[in-house]
């Protein structure tokens, strides 16, 4: 086979996923923390890495940043093997762990200057780089503050600034929105989107799923070390939408039993047991796999029965539902 030309090689290289994980397994004695995890991520994408506590998220991240060895499988970032090319990985990845890692008696500028020097950035370029990352993260006013005197939200910003110092291709952020107030959370979300806009590839773990849903292109759900769902947010939502929840709000609680009867008659036999009657709310709630046509027919039957219907609505499902659905299917949280 002829060798690819330099142009072809570049093209091939840029087409390759930035993050490639294949059959990644990590065992601690008899405990399997990661079980054959495989996923890939393209340049400029934001991956939301979701899982309950102890699911294997941090283990995966530690392997990706080269501070943990997998038992089997491989992980590559921008073509560099996370095990054998650990030094290259350090330049390619900016890692923000869930603990800040601050030093006492150090001002923010000195703190960033130290990490810049640790990455071998020359003194003059470093000064400029520190100013740039402070500007990017909106932390310039904090530059003379002592690190230990910063609030949690401020620390998170400085943590992101630290990961940006050596201009890495991939940013791995462990729980960046954890413990932030609503305003700080919005600012963090905007910051992450800005970074993705700058061409950075981001892997973000979080327990605050609505936050992830707003910024992620791709979502990976992991429980008990196994990948349960992976793909674009739309695809995952479509998968869980196989079952949709519908609420019928009546004007009068006295008609709920009659409405429930009409609905049961209109549903396939297997779904009839899932019809819930809530007289206190004057509501009937049911799950169905039916499509929009089936729902239209059901609504028609309710109207034909002259029942006083105030609202007929599908309960919107979000990432939290998807997550709960996945964790329930895999036997609950680890």
């Amino acid at each position: 086979m002829p060798a690819p030309s330099p142009a072809q090689a570049t093209a091939t290289r840029s087409d390759r996923p930035v993050v490639e994980i294949r059959d990644l397994t990590k065992r601690f004695g008899g405990f399997t923390a990661l079980d054959g995890l495989s996923l890939s991520l393209d340049r400029g994408q934001i991956l939301g890495f979701i899982g309950p506590n102890g699911a294997g998220k941090t283990t995966t991240i530690k392997i990706l940043v080269g501070i943990m060895r997998p038992t089997s499988g491989s992980a590559r970032i921008a073509g560099a093997d996370c095990v054998t090319e650990a030094r290259r990985i350090k330049r390619l990845v900016g890692y923000m762990p869930d603990t800040f890692g601050g030093y006492d008696a150090m001002r923010v500028r000195e703190y960033l200057d130290f990490f810049g020097a640790a990455f071998g950035i020359p003194a003059r370029a470093r000064r400029q780089r520190v100013d740039e990352v402070l500007e990017t993260t909106g932390a310039t006013p904090l530059k003379d503050r002592f690190v230990e005197s910063l609030s949690h939200g401020m620390r998170q910003r400085i943590g992101v600034a630290r990961t940006l110092l050596h201009d890495p291709e991939v940013l791995i952020l462990d729980e960046p929105a954890n413990g932030l107030d609503p305003q700080a959370r919005i600012e963090m979300r905007e910051l992450l989107l800005r970074l993705a806009g700058m061409g950075k590839t981001l892997i973000v773990t979080s327990h605050i799923l609505p936050e992830l849903a707003r910024i992620c292109d791709v979502v990976a759900m992991i429980t008990q070390g196994k990948l349960r769902a992976f793909g674009g947010l739309d695809r995952i939502m479509r998968e869980i939408r196989q079952s949709r929840t519908v609420e019928v709000q009546l004007c009068d609680a006295g008609h709920v039993e009659a409405a429930a009867g009409v609905i049961r008659d209109g549903l396939p036999e297997g779904e009839r047991g899932a019809v819930g009657v809530h007289p206190a709310e004057a509501m009937v709630r049911f799950d169905t796999a039916g499509d929009d046509g089936d729902l239209a027919r059901l609504l028609g039957a309710l109207v034909a029965a002259r029942l006083p219907i105030a609202q007929f609505r599908e309960v919107p499902k979000d990432l939290e539902d998807a997550f709960l659905s996945v964790t329930a299917a895999s036997g609950g949280a680890a």
């Binding site: 080269g66 350090k90 020097a117």
Partner: protein, 551 residues
């Protein structure tokens, strides 16, 4: 109070440190008695053997109390404050004094358990004969108990005022060191003189537990002029010690309320941003302005070295200069005391005191600097960040060791004017001073290497600092303890071998300090110190390498 007391005591008893301490004390006490128990059926009617055992036993127990009580008391309040559990306690119906009393009594109860573990050995000591059960054994326990209470009170006071556990441990051990040893210093300088200074020095001396323990054991430690007292040392010790204890408790309780949480966040004021008048004034008053915006780390400097200096409160240049200036003043004062003729100790004794000052500084400063080199990073999450940088293990190790070495050398350099003046007074001492300085430098190297190596096995600064302090005290004090009992019960050859384990003794022998002139310790002690240093450095390097590797 009983709620806090029960919880605290259980927490202490469940800790591995407590279990290790208890087992070590029990085994050591049994070993002391067994070693000296008559094996050939001949009883020692003079009581020499039992007094020797009592002396070893008493000093050993005193060392235990001085190490254990502060180690448990120092982190007690500050750790709870940092974890947030102190806030919960203050929000409960328990009164602050009851919280304090619970903590105080729990640690004291643990020390009492440790002392109780030594009772069978005390009984063995009595069985050997020649020891008074009340005037010696019971009185010894009373002194130890008061010392323990003082140590706990100091630890809790420091713990309620400091911002971090490691700082609390450092300050507490420094305060205990001051209580035991530094309180004797003024008496050295003023003994035999009339006036208020001598009176104050005399009162200060009564705070130290060393004179009462010396009196109880009936030992006259060599090289300790001024320790003996005309009357009994015990009543003044109990009176002064009781007053000090009450003062410490009152000082802690005075601020043991919601104010303990009042810690303002530093606004990050910078001189560079101040008005011209403020900038000019600060330039005038400060040799090195701590509020000036620091320059970036130069490319030729190891960033870890700079980081280590900057992250220490006393590692900043202005503090190092103050520390060095303080040491220089003490050094010159000691030499001035020798030259003024008011104290007839001789240049050798002053030289010995200089050596003791230097090594004491090394033993006090080194654990606090070197034990947390790796442990603090691992405890606060900095280690994973360091691992993620492109710094090599060698640069990290060199930066960390260098930061300790430079600090300790700077402090020691400040004591050099004293030596220079000694050589000027007595030029023939030049070679002695050189030999002593080589020994002190080896003591520095050994202390740093051992501290760094031992500390690298821990992921908690508190545990690392306590263990390293213990190891260094054993290295330096055990040979000196054996020397204190030279001729009885230890022979010359045994003492000489023991002294070779510490470069401190080699330095004292080199300077011809009274009591050390009969021992030939160089180059034997240098070889031992060199070997231990290399072994320590090798262990530290291996630990850094291991910790940098993927898990």
């Amino acid at each position: 109070m009983t709620t806090v007391l029960g919880r605290e005591l259980l927490a202490i008893l469940r800790s591995p440190r407590a279990a290790a301490g208890l087992v070590a004390v029990a085994l050591a006490c049994v070993a002391v008695v067994l070693v000296r128990w008559p094996a050939d059926g001949v009883a020692d009617l003079s009581g020499t053997t039992s007094r020797g055992v009592l002396a070893l036993f008493a000093w050993g127990l005193l060392a235990c109390v001085l190490l254990l009580a502060p180690a448990f008391a120092a982190p007690s309040i500050v750790r709870e404050r940092l974890r947030g559990t102190l806030m919960l306690l203050f929000n409960s119906p328990i009164h602050p004094w009851a919280i304090y009393a619970g903590k105080f009594l729990a640690i004291l109860a643990f020390v009492a358990i440790v002392l109780a573990a030594s009772l069978p050995a005390a009984a063995g000591c009595l069985a050997l004969g020649g020891v008074d059960p009340w005037r010696q054994v019971a009185m010894l326990y009373a002194v130890l108990f008061l010392v323990a209470a003082q140590c706990v009170a100091i630890g809790l006071l420091v713990s309620s005022r400091t911002g971090g556990t490691d700082a609390a441990i450092r300050v507490t051990f420094a305060a205990v060191f001051a209580l035991v040893f530094v309180t004797l210093g003024p008496r050295f300088l003023t003994q035999g003189q009339p006036g208020p200074a001598a009176l104050v020095a005399d009162w200060l001396r009564r705070l130290s537990p060393l004179p009462p323990v010396l009196e109880i054991t009936g030992t006259t430690a060599g090289g300790a002029p001024g320790l003996a007292e005309r009357g009994s040392a015990l009543p003044p010790f109990f009176a002064a010690g009781g007053l000090l204890l009450a003062g410490l408790v009152a000082a802690t309780l005075a601020r043991f309320d919601h104010r303990i949480f009042d810690r303002a966040r530093d606004a990050g004021k910078i001189t560079d941003d101040q008005s011209l008048a403020v900038r000019s004034a600060r330039r005038l008053f400060y040799l090195v302005d701590p509020q000036r915006r620091s320059a970036g780390i130069p490319s030729w400097l190891n960033p870890v070295l700079v980081k280590e200096f900057r992250t220490r409160k006393f590692g900043r240049l202005h503090w190092l200069l103050r520390l060095a200036a303080g040491c220089a003043v003490v050094s010159l004062l000691l030499t001035l005391a020798a030259t003024s003729g008011t104290v007839a100790w001789g240049v050798e004794t002053i030289g010995g005191l200089l050596v003791l000052l230097q090594v004491a500084l090394v033993v006090v400063i080194t654990p606090s600097l070197a034990s947390g080199l790796v442990a603090a990073e691992r405890e606060w999450g900095g280690w994973n960040l360091l691992r993620m940088t492109t710094l090599s293990g060698v640069r990290i190790a060199l930066g960390k060791l260098g930061s300790v070495l430079w600090t300790v050398l700077l402090v020691l350099a400040a004591t050099l004017p004293g030596y220079l003046m000694m050589i000027t007074i007595k030029p023939t001492m030049a070679s002695q001073v050189t030999l002593a300085l080589v020994s002190v430098l080896l003591a520095v190297a050994m202390s740093i290497a051992v501290s760094a190596a031992v500390g690298s096995f821990f992921s908690s600064t508190t545990a690392a600092t306590v263990t390293v302090s213990l190891v260094l005290l054993v290295i330096y004090l055990v040979p000196m303890g054996i020397w204190a009992f030279r001729d009885d019960p230890f022979g010359h050859a045994f003492v000489e071998t023991a002294l070779k384990a510490t470069p401190l003794a080699a330095a004292l022998a080199a300077i011809r300090m009274p009591g050390f002139t009969g021992y030939d310790l160089t180059p034997g002690a240098w070889w031992v110190a060199g070997t231990v240093t290399l072994a320590g450095l090798a262990v530290f390097a291996l630990r850094i390498r291991r910790l940098l590797q993927p898990e």
